[in-house]
């Protein structure tokens, strides 16, 4: 399977004068796993559909390996797609679904069978060939849809919220499977999701979108550690915002240092709540030195909470290391 690069230039889409995608410039390298992340309704699916050729952009261009494919109909772009609803043909068995795209090619019956078996095996469904979609579980249906998309040996793979209809356990399992299949095939992949955890764990590169605009793109670490806007900081991971010296600042809850004794640079705070979350605890604290209006959160390993003997109402001393504080400009803005 060949890997391709995908590029969009000033991609814009409007429905009845209402802009749902605004000047999107995107660069995806060969073999990269990219997650489009954003709140629902921000235009992620629309972007995916434009790349697939299922819709035509109002403005802008799509490139595949530097070839302009903006006007290429979708059946002439070589890609696989998996939808949130899976869109499995209900009247065809799992096997027939998987071979659906192979039948109209010049392939012998043997070749078709081999290809289908290869991908069914890859998704771990060799035993369920004869079953109809209504007889498969959600996770199995998703695997069939993935196999079906892969059979035509696509240049790139598009996944539109493939995991959001599944329950938590299956979701985590499939995350790993999709990642390992993607790596095995080395296929350029774009996955839409509104689940930040999914994006952080799966992606080589995350593209954060909001209200039709591209907000930031980068590796998961970059996005998490250096969000360039308040929105991105807020949307990915938990974060505390506070105004200080006329500036909006933010810090992740796990980056705050807490102690039971005062130290250099630390300010006094009162713990108002301790929320047990298993391996760690989320503490709520209030400190007049940091913010008079807002409480802020601190994440601390449960072990450490016990060691420090922290409890609600007790005073504690917090320190926000300057290196970890994010700055978002003037307080009036944002």
């Amino acid at each position: 399977m060949s890997s391709v690069s995908i590029k969009t230039e000033g991609l814009t889409k409007a429905y009845d004068g209402h802009t749902v995608l605004d000047n999107i410039n995107l660069q995806i390298n060969p073999g990269e796993f990219v997650c489009l992340l954003g709140p629902s309704g921000c235009g992620k699916s629309t972007l995916l559909r434009l790349i697939a050729g299922l819709d035509k952009p109002t403005k802008g261009k799509v490139f595949l390996d530097d070839r302009d494919i903006t006007n290429l109909p979708c059946s002439k772009r070589n890609f696989g797609i998996v939808f949130q609803s899976y869109a499995l043909f209900p009247n065809l068995s799992a096997y027939d679904n998987v071979t659906y795209g192979l039948k109209n090619r010049r392939m012998t019956k043997r070749q078709i069978e081999e290809t289908a078996n290869k991908y069914l095996e890859m998704v771990g469904l060799s035993g369920a060939k004869k079953r109809f979609p209504s007889q498969l579980s959600g996770g199995e249906q998703q695997r069939v849809a993935l196999a079906r998309a892969l059979t035509i040996e696509p240049d790139f793979l598009l996944l539109d919220e493939p995991l959001s209809a599944l329950d938590a356990k299956v979701r985590v399992k499939l995350r790993h499977e999709i990642c390992s299949i993607q790596r095995e095939l080395g296929i350029t992949t774009i996955m839409v999701t509104h689940d930040q955890e999914e994006a952080l764990t799966m992606a080589d590169k995350i593209v954060v979108m909001d209200k039709a605009k591209l907000m930031q793109s980068g590796t998961p670490e970059e996005i998490y550690d250096h969000p360039q806007s308040r929105f991105v900081a807020d949307f990915i991971g938990a974060i505390n915002f506070y105004e200080n010296e006329g500036e909006t600042k933010a810090i992740r809850p796990e980056k705050i240092v807490i102690n039971s004794l005062p130290g250099a640079d630390s300010s006094e705070a009162v713990l108002t709540d301790i929320e047990f979350r298993g391996n760690f605890c989320r503490l709520s604290a209030r400190s007049d030195a940091i913010s008079k209006e807002h409480e802020f959160y601190i994440d601390l390993p449960t072990q450490r909470v016990r060691e420090l003997k922290l409890c609600v109402g007790a005073p504690a001393f917090v320190n926000m290391p300057e290196a970890e504080v994010l700055h978002f400009g003037g307080a009036s803005r944002s």
Binding site: L54, D55, N71, P73, C74, S75, I81, Y100, S134
Partner: protein, 574 residues
Amino acid sequence: MRKALEKLRNRVITWDTVKLIGIVCLLAIFCIFLVGPLILLFVKAFQDGSGAFCGLAQFRKYLSSANMLSSLGHTIYISLTATLISVSAAFAMAYSLSRRSVPCKKFFQFISRLPMYAPTMLLGMSLIYLFGNKGILTGLGLKIPLYGKVGIIIAESIFCFPVALMILMVAFSSADNRLYEAADVLHATPFRKLITITLPSIKYGLINAVFVCFTYSFTDFGAPSVVGGNYNVLATDIYKQVIGQQNFNMGAVVGIIMMLPTVLSFFVDRFTSKRQTGAISSRSIPYRIVPNKRADIIATCFCVLVTLFMIGFFGVSLFGSLVTFWPYNLKLTLSHYDFSLISASGGVETIFRSIKVSALAAIIGTIIAFMAAYFVEKTQKFKLLRRIIYALAISPNAIPGTVIGLAYIFFFNPKTFPLFGTGYQINNSFYFLYNTVALLVCVNITHYFSVPFITASTALKRLDNEFESVSDSLKVPFYRTLARITLPLSMQAILEIAVYFFMNSMVTVSAVIFLCTSITQLASVVVVNVQGAGNDAAAAAICMVILAINLIVRILYEIINKPISRKTDAWMKR
């Protein structure tokens, strides 16, 4: 140069082009068989007999004639009364069948549909056998002034009952049981539940049923032609104007006036059907019947009563068609079923012709209705064209059969059309269809097009639009997905549509009566002629044959549909 070549290669004929051709073909069909005739009908209404433009003169003449005005009043009166009766009865029946535990529901429903399977003239004839001068009940001392409004009202009430029942059954079935459970928890009385939950949830169905029944009785031709006597109504007026007095322009005027309530009903239906589908969410829980002995017994009794009435009502015509000479010689005979005795209009062959027309209407109509629905629902491009097709496809619902029949005469009968202002004539290239069986097929498809189209659209809407996207990505041409996926999954709707076209084409009179000539006579029209000539027994016999054919088709449908629906249900299970 190379760039241009590249561009060209990307623009090679795609399947979109094929779809576009299909859509344009459909538009052309609509223009010839719906838009063209209707335009001519409108033109005729503003012309006088010589073809000169006369503005509203014809309308003024109509409104100043006492006779004509009275028929408008009559029509409104009988329609209102018949609507009230049929909707009330259908409401009670729908309630009994959907909210009470009643045995043999399928059977009751089947029998209550009988009036749809026979020409409406049969309803009039049964009334004559019961209440006519020599009727059974008249003989027993139960005298009613049958000929005139009473007869028409009874006949129309029975005629409208099945369709009202169907609409209300759907409305009742859309209830959300969680609301009833919530009300029970709050100790609501049955009356309050009726007022606050049941009525609001079936409100739109009820409104829709009222308008549909009103339209049905407003435009029906069959029943008034049999039991109308001297009581004139619009549908028979048009016929008299056109066939009796050859006053085509006045016929067009009456046609347009007749369309006022049907157009209104059309918009009400648009409005209510949108509301109703919005009212049930996917999370609704179907109504669970709570047994209540007394109410259940009353409901069962009501259903039994309706069923007995229907069986008796149709039975009496069957009996009438089987006795030698009603009511003097009650010896059973099959002589009335010897249609070779029916002189001028031909006998057995009209029945075969009816079957042929209905079968063709079923096959061709189903293909066109499904195609139209497919292009409207499953194409992403050509938004404007799709909108136009949609509007054209649902508009026959707003046009009474008599009006369509008349419009067809205007469009297909003349050899040439005069061009306004100039002295030129243009040849009518569709004249060849006049006086053919093919035209009868066309008029039936057009007349009954909307319901099948909506049925097909609804079925297609239920299928994931992403099937098409996936097929595109797999580079499977659209027609393969249509054949392999869409059609098999829509099989139930397709069968239903075919049966609908067939049955209605078998019983319809209103549109075809203007187009049938001696060489293209249909059984249902023969019924009108034979009955008009006083041969009630033969007319009843033909009705019975039509009824029997429709029943057979219906039973065949049930047999074929059973495995299909079981399979489809298994596929579509989530």
